[in-house]
């Protein structure tokens, strides 16, 4: 047996890689995780880039992380604590604001200030979206069946999949009308969907935000309604659609996962970038790293996105040509940027009354869907949005561990920002220009904001690509459209975490159920590996 041999090698210590690794280590396997950066966590990190301030400098909020994973891996033991949001708000140029709260009735009262009809429509809207969430929830922990296969597993899997759409126990059975609604929901644009409920522009603009975050779709693009669902299907303790902060930043999630992994005897090696998968006789037998090491294992599990997994670290001749073509066509377009800001104090946002919990979570300033679509138009031309949609929050308002008392960390997610910037692409100067532009946009709503800035970090899709390893900076590791979801993710025929190369698996967000700090792809992939290794398991993913 060659040196450096393990049962499993996981490539990439992001949250899905660590989830998969922890489940497999818990099952008794010897697991090694290789990470290219000197820190672990992938896009779920807390980094002190300015002394005294912790930045969740990629992903910044938590809702999708499956509670059953937190339970199976006992992440609380390793310090994970989710802090629910208090509310959210959209600021308006006329000095008014629109707010959502943790409390449903308070939200209804707040919407009513803008439209009495919308306040009541919101009840109907919540019900309909919640119904879709309930349909999709059990699918998250299933391996999508291959609809073209006649294997019993796939036939039963397809039935199981279908069953959830008509499950009597959960939803009392869906009638024809609701099944039509589901199909429409998955294919509609968010604008068309919201128009069926609401009249006021501000209500629609506030709600539509969830449908564009992270995607290269506009609010008028078909398929954007699903993206909203993707952001809603998470929960904080049964409160479906709620979002929260991970105490200590998003890095606390991956740190807790690593704690679990190590307790089960697994290991993470930082500074170990995998250059290629070692293939012998048509099987993956190990990996080589850029620093010249080789590691061997019975199974290789890649937590890189589909493009990096199959086009970068796997040699093309080890894969079928048609498969490679499909991977090349996999849509993974970067559309977002970020600012991480160290603030000397709490900025005033005069639109939001002091002490209003609406300012406790995500804040925005896009007032109409038209504005949002305009922001998207800039992106299509290869420019950052002149009037961007931002999702900004100040985690340190709720979390005492991000900065010293009285100091604040602000996360600003920006939509839209192109990967390929027109007229010569990204360079340091244009990156800083983009950063200044965003600071100016926020300053319009906060007179003292600029004065409070100690430091900020600008993140473009280029940085997400080169540093984090998200191809083109797409935060979901692949667009969330029907052609790339469920049994189509990443490509039809290979949606079951196995790859055309024997002993090689993929557990990243490029697989079902997709992006967000969810962990479900990792847990599902671990299950498939354990099934292939004939290691029976108990837990929420079996």
């Amino acid at each position: 047996m060659p040196k450096n041999t393990h049962d499993i090698i996981v490539v990439g210590a992001g949250h899905n890689g660590l989830t998969a690794a922890s489940y497999m280590a818990k099952a008794g396997l010897d697991v090694l995780v290789l990470e290219k950066n000197e820190w672990i966590g992938g896009a779920a990190v807390s980094r002190e880039l300015y002394p005294g301030w912790k930045y969740s400098n990629c992903s910044y909020v938590c809702s999708l992380l499956r509670p059953e994973i937190m339970r199976d891996l006992e992440l609380y033991k390793y310090g994970l604590q989710i802090i629910p949001y208090e509310g959210s708000a959209t600021m308006m140029r006329n000095g008014d604001y629109y707010a959502h709260y943790h409390d449903h009735d308070m939200t209804i009262n707040a919407i009513r200030r803008h439209s009495h009809k919308d306040a009541e429509a919101y009840e109907r809207y919540s019900r309909d979206v919640l119904r879709q969430c309930k349909i999709i929830k059990p699918l998250l922990k299933m391996t999508p069946p291959d609809l073209t296969s006649f294997k019993p597993k796939d036939i039963f899997g397809a039935l199981e999949f279908a069953k959830h759409f008509a499950a009597k126990d959960e939803l009392g059975g869906l009638s024809e009308k609701e099944i039509y609604d589901t199909i429409r929901f998955y294919t509609m644009s968010i604008r068309d969907y919201l128009d069926e409920y609401f009249e006021s522009e501000i209500t629609k603009a506030h709600l539509a935000g969830s449908a564009i975050i992270g995607t290269a779709l506009g609010p008028c693009s078909p398929g954007s309604a699903y993206v909203l669902l993707h952001h809603y299907m998470g929960e904080v303790d049964g409160s479906v659609g709620s979002w929260g902060y991970s105490r200590g930043g998003m890095g606390s999630i991956t740190k807790a996962m690593m704690g679990c992994l190590e307790d089960y005897g697994g290991e993470v090696k930082p500074n170990s970038e995998v250059s290629n998968v070692i293939v012998k006789n048509g099987r993956a037998i190990g990996v080589a790293t850029t620093n010249g090491n080789e590691y061997y294992a019975k199974k290789i599990v890649s937590n890189l996105d589909a493009k990096r997994t199959f086009l970068k670290i796997t040699e093309e001749k080890a894969l079928p040509g048609e498969f490679v073509e499909r991977i090349k066509n996999f849509k993974i377009r970067g559309s977002s940027g970020k600012l991480n800001i160290a603030l000397d104090g709490l900025p005033d946002f005069p639109c939001i009354p002091e002490g209003d919990p609406g300012g406790g979570g995500d804040m925005h300033f896009t007032e109409t869907i038209e504005e949002m679509e305009g922001a998207y138009d800039d992106w299509k031309r290869g420019q950052w949005s002149r009037n961007p949609y931002v999702d900004m929050c100040i985690p340190s308002k709720s979390d005492p561990t991000m900065a010293a008392p009285g100091k604040h960390y602000m996360s600003v997610f920006i939509q839209y920002v192109p990967f390929n910037l027109a007229n010569g692409g990204w360079n340091e100067e244009r990156k800083q220009e983009f950063g200044r532009h965003i600071v100016d946009c926020i300053s319009e709503f906060s007179p003292n904001f600029k004065d409070l800035i100690n430091h900020y970090e600008v993140r473009t899709p280029k940085d997400l690509d080169s540093e984090v390893g998200l191809t083109e900076g797409n935060i979901f590791q692949g667009e969330l459209t029907m052609d790339q979801l469920m049994f189509n993710r990443p490509v039809p025929g290979y949606a079951q975490y196995r790859t055309p190369l024997k002993n090689m698996y993929i557990c990243s967000s490029s697989t079902h159920p997709g992006g967000g700090v969810m962990g479900a792809p990792g847990a599902n992939a671990a299950r498939e590996v354990l099934i292939d290794m004939k290691i029976p398991q108990k837990g929420n993913y079996y």
């Binding site: 609380y76 604590q81 802090i83 008392p405």
Partner: protein
Amino acid sequence: MAIDLRYSALKKTPFHSRTSLASRTNHWYTWNGFTVPTEYSTVELEYTAARNGTSVMDLTPMGKYEITGEEAHAFSDYLVTRDLSEMKDNTVAYIIWCNEDGKVIDDGTIFKYSSNKFMLCCAVKIYNWLNDSAEGFNVKIEDVTDTIAALSLQGPTSCSTLKNYGAIGLESLAPFEMKEFNIDGNNVLISRTGFTGDLGYELWIDPKNAEATWDAIFDAGKHLKIRPFGMNALEMTRIEAGFIQTNTDFMAAEDALRPVRMRSPYEIGMGWLVHFKKKNYFIGKKALKKEKEMGSTERCLVGLDIDGDKPAHGSVIYNSKKEDIGIVTAAMWSPTMKRNVALASLRRPYGIKIKDNIFAEIYHPEEIEYRKIWAKCKVVKRQFYSPERRNKVPADLYE
């Protein structure tokens, strides 16, 4: 401010002007003749304050009794099952006390100022019981419930909040120790105690300083995620900590209408507080000794880790033959652990010798109908959650 009993059927605590101002929901709970907020905003956010920042609860309604006199120490030791003979000044002990039949009347905490001054805190009213039991002891019993205002500050930043407020050196106070501080010219007694299983403190002050203290504390905690905390959130934290609640997890012997509902310490997981070896007799000793010798304990109180995410409120517990073996007394979905946990009173040997194949029948309400869930349970330690920071000395500071 003295409490005026003439006009209101239920008493307002000395913090009422502040708690009512902080309440966004106007939900009030009746506790020991007082009204206190059930919740202020939403239970999830309040619960989170105790696990993330500082939660502040008005603890005034807690029954408080001063035991003074030459034999205060001897009487306290006689009253409770725990051996208090070695108890040091300025410490607090968790205690239970029983009637002569060895059935538990209540649990609580006892504070020792000196050998001739103690304070007992508990949920039920026991002024009468204390006086009757004190016959023959040279002690004076005084109900100080209305004359001592109390606040509970719990959570990881609670030490920092109190330090900002003026409790210099508080971080060196160990769990179950207490210390008097002079803050803004007033005496404030602070004990490192609480009902959340987390880092936390309780403040015992003169009611006339209540409002000013509340304001000063909220000011001290303004950057430390401070939040008022109601009774619903308390119920969540105490279940996670595995603490028992009188008349919820067991019936107080003095309150139980049906004698069969009375419980011995062994039946509610409190056997560790019964010290037969202590020098002097204590109330209930004879009966408890007999129970222990005969092995006649009928029930036990255990922690359950239950499959799925639907809380098992009031569930009947079954063995694999579908025979009824007990009942859930308190249940919750734990937001911190992401576990579905419960406290359950089981018929022995279930929960002690037989820990497998135990099931809860959960009736989960779903829009006017119930879904019946048959969920597998694991018997686990009742103390579900106990973070490291809880017992750390010096306590964590956020600066």
